[in-house]
Symmetry: C2
Subunit: 201 residues, 2 copies
Amino acid sequence: MGTRDVILDAAAEVMAEQGLANVTTRQIAKAAGLTEAALYKHFASKADLMVAVMRERSPGFSPLAEALRGGGDLVGSLTAVARAAIDLYRAGFPMFASVFADPATLAAHKEELRQEGAGPHKANEALAAYLRAEQEAGRVRAGADVRAAAGLLLGACFQYAFLGHMSRAGFADDEEAAASFVRTLLETLTPTPPPCHEPSA
Amino acid sequence: MGTRDVILDAAAEVMAEQGLANVTTRQIAKAAGLTEAALYKHFASKADLMVAVMRERSPGFSPLAEALRGGGDLVGSLTAVARAAIDLYRAGFPMFASVFADPATLAAHKEELRQEGAGPHKANEALAAYLRAEQEAGRVRAGADVRAAAGLLLGACFQYAFLGHMSRAGFADDEEAAASFVRTLLETLTPTPPPCHEPSA
């Protein structure tokens, strides 16, 4: 493992223990077994290091992307997406929320996302694209707003993960939450039955 | 204005400018025109003061509660709720996210919420109760899961507010976001037309 990775591992560990508000480069250097000077050979500033930790040591979107490629039916795929999203958002929330406590780290993080065209909205775009493909295949109602539907499902999972950290999330467990969000959303999204004639009186 | 309020105003201002990670009680005392000793007469610790700022200087749920009491029709009321939720979550996000950067403040905040039975889940409970009343009045489909529906709508608004801070929120503006979330959700929630007989072949 290179020095850069040693520093990132140490920084991720100190961040998780102390919170971003209390992390010092001195502590990180100590945890990595290096001097602060050695640390600054790899990262220009504390904000720069924190941003690298977020990019390289936080849960990625790959489990969610995998759920979308799963090839199952609509209910199964969306439930797998919701489960993956809950896990991802729960694991990532403390780290991503923490950036709001430090304007320099937040600005550096946003600038990097902007340059790379990356960001948390990518998950919503991927789910909307999946739903659009299902719509073209006739498995999602023709008039359904797939972008809003993606916002409803991933938003519900995002807030559920946040509520679980803070107070009460209101569901028995993750399975129940994921299943009930998908079921409630799907009643909108699945094609309506063909209209039938009025029975002759 | 009492000394306590002077301190809370100063703390809220310094928090917004510097970020929770960089706030010191020395800066807050200076902004309030007091000594640090005077500050500690009113608050036991920095975490204690930060928690009081969050409780007493952050946007409250009253605009959302007011939208629920508005007495309009289902579409109008839910759209007003979504607009109020977007404003509330957008204004509150930086402050509430910041607590995750400091384990001591997070623990104190959670303990206070627990003791008071308060927390962000209260908005979801209020919306679910509203939808349950509409269900009893026959304006929401009998089988609809009102708790999941509340999670979908408020979750969408919560994530939309977060995405707007971070990267791209994916909608033209708040009006469009609120209206499309409600419309997409309502197609589930409104009562289905009564079943009709199969036409005789």
